[in-house]
Amino acid sequence: MTALDNQTEVRDGVDRETVETVQSMAGTYKYGWNTDIEMDYAPKGVNTDIVRLISGKNEEPEWMTDWRLSAYARWEKMTEPTWAMVHYPPIDYQDQYYYARPKSMDVKPKSLDDVDPKLLATYEKLGIPLKEQMVLAGVEGAEDVPAEGRKVAVDAVFDSVSVGTTFQAELKKAGVIFCSISEAIREHPELVKKYLGTVVPPSDNFFATLNSAVFSDGSFVYVPPGVRCPMELSTYFRINAENTGQFERTLIIADKGSYVSYLEGCTAPKRDTTQLHAAVVEIIIEEDAEVKYSTVQNWYPGDENGKGGIFNFVTKRADCRGDRAKVMWTQVETGSAVTWKYPSCILRGDDSQGEFYSIAIANNYQQADTGTKMVHLGKNTKSRIVSKGISAGKAQNTYRGLVSMHPKAKNSRNYTQCDSLLIGGDCGAHTVPYIEVRNNSSRVEHEATTSKVDDDQLFYCRQRGMDEEEAVALVVNGFCREVLQALPMEFAMEAQALVAISLEGSVG
């Protein structure tokens, strides 16, 4: 793709727009710029005062402040986990800002029109249509998309605060609540109180506990019984301020018989110093409900020498509480210097289903330790894991997963496939699966392969006139196709392009 950068002449039959699109994709990290905007910071470091301050800024009720404080007290006694196959310098938790928000958000904007245009410009630049319908242009084979385009409601989180949520009125008509979690704590305390921390308890792990104490914002979704959410919901996370950690918390509740598809995207500016991102996502799925959660994680991965980047320590878990509940995690992990993330499924209800599709790409000095947990508790539960790991440069990529069949999970089924692809001789690909089968009516199958990009396939592509990087990108896209197919279309396009970008410079 770099070949196109220098190409001045456009070949016949290729329009200028296509070339520009490809050129824009070919940059190393597309979202590395930062928005010059006046920020409000809480003092550096974390302590009970900061916890209280964050709680105060969000105008939270006392029970919420207490909840945070008890999490903080617990966190102080915890030690950072070291079991993951990632290495990074010790994090100074007192040398971070735990709260930063644009000054213009001091007075809560009444509608999107009141939002600082600079912020809106930021999101526009990121390609997030906050105000308008997103129209899919030039997507081939998009027959199932209505001609007027598809609606996607967006909640945009800028550093520590949510700057706006679109389509709220329309969603309200359907009974769906989609707002920032700070708003939900104020407006729907009964729901938050009932569900918050029930899937990922504040004591869960070091990073989740820290998040429970200092989370500043995030998204909240409630889909009432029997409602099929009329549009896809999406949250866009942007870290902008320097030395600032982002701690968002997402809570999704799909009540009986409902359906929702949720998309998550993330970016951050290029900086020399590393930044911390420790999020928690909790999903509760009641009887017959279904949730699809798709992530394209494109945090700044650090430069080609491994300087800077985001430390991404995320706890995501879905609890299929009711019978026949269904959850599907799809993730494309291309960014972050260090990724530590295991979206999990607790299959508690009988006949519930969990699926996990993942592409993790690590290039340069990136390190990814990611996977899933499938905990089968109910009868006839099913789970499927498809994980594709790609390592290039000097990166290390680990799949770590647990499949657990409890004695009562009769007639359950798991299929796991994790494949790793190595590009270049300085990277590593690792697989660490845990398989625990405690009954004999369940079937568990696990297979994993590790190989390099096939020379014959590369040769074929080269012979057809592709340069080496294009050929590798094509082969890798083919390697990932099972996961790409599981993504909602908007994301699939973006992910496919990202796969190519993330591997820039990995050949030759």
């Binding site: 190595l422 990277c427 660490v432 699966p433 398989i435 089968v437 568990v444 696990h446 297979e447 392969t449």
Partner: protein
Amino acid sequence: MALSQPKDAGVVALIDALGAVSDTGCLAAARADALTRVRATGLPTRRDEYWRYTRPDTLTQAEVPTAAVFAHDDAPMFGEIDQVRLVFVDGVFDPAASDDPALAGIVIERLAEVQQRDIHWAKEVYGKLETAGQTPVARPLAALNTAFATDGIVLHVTGKAGKPVSISYLHENDTSDAILHHVIRIDAGADLTLLEQGPGAARLNKVMEVEIGDGGAFHHVQAQGRDHERRAVTHTFARLGTESRFKSFTLTVNGVMTRNECIIELTGDDAVAHVAGASVGDGNFHHDDTVFVTHDALNCESRQVFKKVLRNGATGVFQGKILVKKDAQKTDGYQISQALLLDGDSQFLAKPELEIYADDVVCSHGSTSGAIDTDSLFYLRSRGVPVAEATDLMTLAFLAEAIDEIDDPALAADLLSRLQGWLARRRS
């Protein structure tokens, strides 16, 4: 450091119970070093990631849990095979029951005698492979063995050994605690078949260090005895030179606690290492296969094939790892672990790992667990095969892939008949 307190106390108690470490002879330095290491690491506890699925307490407690001597009228294992038989009774060498150790192409000595000498080649191997095998994961019970081993066999294979060497471990005392350490050096181009059988003691801690020179070959077949209450922890450390071959197969039938660790390092190009095992357990049975294969040379091949048949609450564990170092290009690594659960109470716990730092490799692993396939069972029954027979037939077919790893058809047939015996006893 509240957590490490009981760990330290455990080490002290066990070391006290084992007595003083021998401080004379050519192995004294290795023993002292091992003692220092085991003091530093402490003994394994359930909290250790490496002991996640197996409770080490009965292996590490100072007092030996009793194991009644199990009487059976089975014909001796490998009885039909011409062999040099060496016998240990509760960890003590029995010269009267053993054959004359003189054999072409091989020098057989006892560790208890070798260690009294000041100069012996065993010094270059004893504790050395074990020490190398302590990273990246500590194996304190192996270090403990190096420090306290009372006896063992020291083998130097200089050519093609005339016949297999067999070691029988007899168990005659309900509370015996045996610590045996074998040292084997196979010279370039030399070849040895080693057979091991029997429970050994109420509690057996066995280490075997095998150094295989360029082009050498080591065939190993082991059967761990039918005693129900015995406990065993074994470590096999092997280092392979260029174009050498290592093939090991272990059959485990019964035993309340077995942990077999196999640590293999492929250091010469084009070497081949196969480790396989079949275990069948009924009731109070815990069997753990832990394998760590390190590829550190070009174009090597490794296989791990483990099959477990479990019933009545038996537990099978498999922890396998293939580590491919950066320069170990053209590696071919394969690992399969499968469990057949014959009823709802048994469990299979597995952690099959790959850690790969070289790009031109083909590595894969598979792991499955489930009950007997009802469709196949139905097919056999519809052809007039009674259900019990059909189940046995399918169980043996399931175990076949592991048994196929044994090159010698006579040995494979012997092991197969033992498995048939186990199944037949369960049927009556």
